[in-house]
């Protein structure tokens, strides 16, 4: 009797399964929905599972030698001219009872490097330590006769060279824990990090003539963040706090003969407290978040005549919130809606400060203006699956922005869009998207508080009425197993419909083509190509009337790359590879004023090539030899010699033109 009864059960289950299927919803295979009535997990075994406890990973010491006469090459080579040692490591320890530790070290010893250590018991608790260094090199040949020491920029008799580069050193530590109480999962974390940023960057002051100089950077940013989250099967809630404190060691800059010519960024701090939650019922997900924050700045204000305060009580309160609902009605229809809100409320005090220049309207005294913004976004979209090959989406987005003291205090932008996913072509995906948006708003007041002497015909581009039309096509095709091709084309047209002066139109169109190939087990390759064009026009009036000059800017970008790797040499012990990249950014600007004036060169290009060979010395030891070449050129007609323009002191021509070479040798040792 048992046999037939089981069959009945089976038949009923099969029938109920059939009914369930006919509900036409996407399947839900989550493990918490599994029917485990007949499972006896005590008998589950894994005798065939390998024992992966213990240490594993690799350690890779190495060295690079660079030949370059321009420090800018250190951006690509990750190190300056000369020889540098480095260490890479990726180590893992796994204990038998869930204890684990990981260490990842990337390029330690080079300009950009990082290290990450973590240890703990999986799913219970974990401690993490981080280190990261980021470097950015602009130029090593900036020319200046001003040298910074103790808040003073001291002129020297000779112009000397100066390096413009920035270095960030970050350390961080984090503790996290997780525990299951009943059916609820509790997670908690706390993180502290500190960043030191040092170096020099290009800046300028007026004394009274403009002088470009190397602004010293020496600042520390401390961050604290923590969070608690509690989750059940259908819900999740999270409380998070983050705090950031910026401490600038560079105080007001003075010249020996003129004090306080430059006020560096003031110390500041900010915090944010957010509460978020998610609830799932059936096929509907509701997510919500509410956050409140504050940005504060009470740095001592430079004491000048006409300054009524010692310290300013700068305070901006922020409020952000979002509610999002996603509902899958059946396997054909899905509805999504969201509302988000963001407010910046400047609660600082206002004072009248003496200005060194008169603007002719407000006189020599001016009151600081407190800028508030309030933004509301709402979005709805519907997705309908026509059949297994076609899916149509359509949506409506709207953004309403209010701002205080702006030339236009309210703007709103509405966007309608549609997407069509097509999968009817074998081994292919085609996505088409079209959108149209229109920005409008309150009456434009060119003579607002912050723009008191602007030409009334001007429409600031980020406030102006604008119609935007955009199209996008994405095509992915894998005609055969060994190749995958992707092509993306985009077009966007911005028409500033009510603008006489200012940006009147902009067109941006591009394509990007990419092919990945795996010819066989040993030979792989890739190739990509892309171009982008951005064309814009704007009008100006130097007669404070209608347009009497215009400018057309044509930007063009080309990007090409190709590479391959072959691993079948010397009985598969030797693999060789090649990567090549070409990039060219150019901007052609023409100003029409009485006659057409070309602006001069503004472009950059680079050729980057890398050859490498990886030889398996033994089962545990690999040797890698690499060579990299970088050809870089950029030019900007605005860059001129230090005193080439009367009344202006520059840092010289900060262009680049170099060939750089790098040779790298490393040995990678596998621990297991």
């Amino acid at each position: 009797m048992k046999y037939p009864l089981n069959l009945i059960t089976l038949a009923l289950i099969a029938a109920s399964g059939s009914m369930m299927s006919s509900s036409a919803l996407a399947a839900d295979f989550s493990v918490n929905k599994a029917n485990t009535n007949s499972v006896n997990m005590d008998k589950f075994q894994c005798k065939r599972c390998p024992d992966n406890t213990g240490y594993r990973g690799s350690v890779e010491p190495g060295a690079v030698y660079n030949d370059s006469d321009d420090i800018h090459s250190a951006n690509a080579f990750n190190s300056e001219d000369g020889t540098h040692g480095f260490l890479n490591a990726d180590l893992q320890y796994r204990g038998k009872t869930g204890y684990q530790a990981k260490a990842q070290v990337i390029n330690l010893g080079l300009a950009n490097s990082s290290a990450h250590l973590e240890a703990g018991k999986t799913g219970s608790y974990q401690a993490e330590l981080d280190y990261r260094q980021l470097s950015q090199y602009q130029h090593d040949n900036a020319k200046s006769n001003l040298w910074y020491a103790d808040g003073t920029l001291t002129p020297s008799s000779d112009v000397q060279t100066q390096e413009l580069s920035l270095k960030r050193k970050q350390i961080g530590m984090e503790l996290s824990a997780e525990h299951q109480f009943g059916e609820q999962d509790y997670q908690v974390f706390a993180r502290y990090s500190q960043e030191e940023k040092t170096g020099y960057k290009s800046s300028s002051f007026v004394s009274p003539r403009p002088t470009n100089f190397g602004l010293p950077v020496d600042a520390t940013t401390d961050k604290i963040s923590s969070g608690l989250s509690i989750g059940g099967q259908q819900w999740l809630t999270s409380l998070n706090y983050q705090y950031s404190e910026y401490d600038n060691q560079i105080e007001s800059l003075s010249l020996p003969y003129l004090s306080d010519v430059y006020a560096p960024a003031p110390d500041n701090s900010a915090y944010q407290l957010s509460f978020s939650g998610q609830y799932l019922f059936n096929r509907t997900a509701i997510s919500a978040q509410l956050a409140t924050g504050r940005m504060m700045q009470d740095e001592a204000v430079i004491q000048t005549s006409g300054n009524p305060i010692q310290n300013w009580d700068g305070q901006v309160d922020t409020t952000d919130g979002k509610l999002a609902i996603t509902s899958v009605l059946d396997n054909r229809l899905r509805l999504v809606g969201s509302v988000s809100y963001s407010k910046r409320d400047n609660k600082s005090s206002t004072w009248e400060f003496a200005q060194l220049e008169s603007d002719g309207i407000s006189g020599a005294f001016k009151e600081n203006v407190l800028l508030d913004t309030e933004k509301l976004n709402y979005k709805v979209n519907v997705s309908y699956r026509i059949n297994s090959d076609y899916r149509l989406q359509a949506g409506f987005d709207r953004e309403e922005m209010d701002r205080s003291h702006g030339a236009r205090e309210q703007t709103d932008e509405s966007t309608v869009w549609t997407k069509l996913d097509i999968r009817s072509i074998p081994n292919s995906k085609l996505k088409l998207k079209a959108s149209f948006s229109q920005r409008d708003g309150s009456q434009y007041q060119a003579s607002g508080l912050t723009s008191s002497i602007e030409n009334p015909l001007l429409r600031k581009f980020y406030l102006a009425d604008r119609d935007r039309t955009a199209f996008e096509a994405k095509f992915n095709h894998a005609p055969v197993d060994w190749i995958n091709v992707s092509l993306i084309g985009r077009y966007a047209d911005d028409d500033y419909t009510d603008t006489t002066l200012g940006l009147t139109s902009s067109e941006d169109y591009s394509y990007n083509l990419n092919a990945d190939m795996q010819f066989d087990k040993r030979l792989s390759g890739y190739a990509f190509a892309g171009q982008q064009w951005i064309e814009s026009t704007q009008n100006g009036s130097q007669s404070f009337s209608t347009a009497d000059w215009s400018a057309n800017v044509e930007d063009e970008f080309i990007n090409l790359g190709v590479g391959m790797n072959y691993g079948g040499l010397l009985q598969d012990k030797l693999s060789i590879g090649l990567d090549y990249l070409f990039a060219n950014s150019s901007s052609d600007k023409q100003v029409v004023y009485a006659a057409t004036h070309p602006q001069g060169d503004y472009y950059s290009y680079s050729h980057s090539a890398e050859l490498y060979a990886n030889y398996r010395v033994s089962e545990l030891l690999d040797a890698k030899l690499g060579y990299r070449y970088e050809r870089y050129y950029d030019t900007d007609n605005a860059q001129v010699d230090v005193n080439a323009i009367d009344g202006l002191t520059t840092l010289g021509k900060l262009n680049h033109n170099y060939n750089a070479h790098q040779v790298m040798l490393s040995f990678s040792y596998q621990l297991r």
Binding site: A26, F44, S238, A263
Partner: protein, 317 residues
């Protein structure tokens, strides 16, 4: 006894007919259309016919497959913590109950990735069953979910190290679809993404976020301030577009112009400033005077992000 046999025979017959109506039983599962395959897998899932010995039942046949065995090198192959798949239903936690899969290969298992006929939502339901934590809180309304991106389009499970979880390869994963972002990294100015010194996830959460543009912070400006705290202020003298949105002037993914600017000074400035003074002045050619040479408008108005100098209303000091 005779009656009992007859009843059982009738029941047996009905059951057989019901089962037979699932003609898919007789069709090799590789050839099943997606919809029928999904139905079959749902049926199997609800039946809950799990194997007797868990992973060992699977490895009896699949042990020689290196990809299968690579699971044990990664986090999903560990038998702790208690909610790990290998501590529970093991392989069948993700691939569903074995059923008769091992008997002639006629029954499909839940499969993932390029070869799977299951839609993204069905595949993702397996992952979301466990990964319901704050990092995934905004997944359901994220653009990746709405565009039917499957978890395994980005993530690999049967591996020692998921490439998308590695700082050195996460950018490759993102830019395999976001080709325009890959290209933008190589423009004249960009964040240091092309050398993987910065990563896409330094700013974005690919699982979606409650902020703008799937950013880790709630607003675009908060995202920028997380690295550029010196621009946070508040400043005594503020610049309206800076306060409102950094991306009004900058394109964080890269620009043909230096310092990620969408346009260059003086033209960028003249898209907003056209007064009765020098701001409206035409600059016929760069490098000829102080308006078009050096740092252009920023020769004088260098504190474009805000000034804390009491006499800094014109953002000059």
């Amino acid at each position: 006894m005779m009656m009992r046999i007859r009843v059982s025979n009738i029941v047996y017959g009905i059951a057989t007919l019901v089962l037979f109506s699932f003609s898919i039983q007789a069709v090799p599962w590789e050839q099943l259309p997606a919809e029928q395959l999904t139905k079959k897998l749902e049926t199997k899932f609800s039946e809950g016919k799990y194997s007797k010995k868990g992973a060992d039942s699977c490895l009896m046949c699949h042990k020689k497959n290196a990809t299968v065995m690579a699971l044990f090198d990664g986090v999903h192959g560990q038998d702790s913590p208690a909610n790990s798949p290998m501590a529970g239903l093991q392989c069948e936690a993700c691939h569903g109950p074995q059923g008769k899969h091992n008997k002639g290969g006629k029954e499909p298992m839940i499969a993932f990735g390029k070869e799977s006929k299951l839609d993204a939502a069905s595949q993702n339901s397996t992952c979301l069953g466990c990964h319901n934590d704050p990092k995934q809180m905004a997944w359901h309304s994220s653009s990746h979910n709405l565009d039917e991106v499957a978890c395994v389009d980005c993530h690999q499970i049967h591996t020692a190290k998921d490439p998308v979880m590695d700082k050195l390869s996460v950018n490759d994963t993102c830019t395999s679809c976001h080709l325009e972002a890959k290209a933008a990294m190589n423009k004249r100015s960009s964040h240091t993404m092309q050398w993987d010194q910065m990563t896409c996830i330094d700013c974005h959460n690919p699982h979606g976020s409650m902020g703008e543009s799937a950013l880790n912070q709630l607003t675009i400006n908060d995202t920028c301030y997380s690295c550029h705290a010196e621009k946070r202020g508040p400043f005594l003298w503020e610049h309206e577009p800076v306060v409102e949105n950094c991306s009004t002037c900058h394109n964080p993914h890269g620009s043909i112009n230096s310092t990620l600017l969408k346009s260059r000074a003086p033209l960028l400035c003249q898209q907003c400033h056209m007064d009765d003074g020098h701001a409206s002045r035409v600059v016929p050619q760069d490098g000829q005077d102080a308006f078009g040479g050096g740092k252009s408008c920023l020769n004088c108005h260098s504190q474009i992000h805000g000034s804390n100098h009491p006499a800094g209303s014109k953002l000059q000091r």
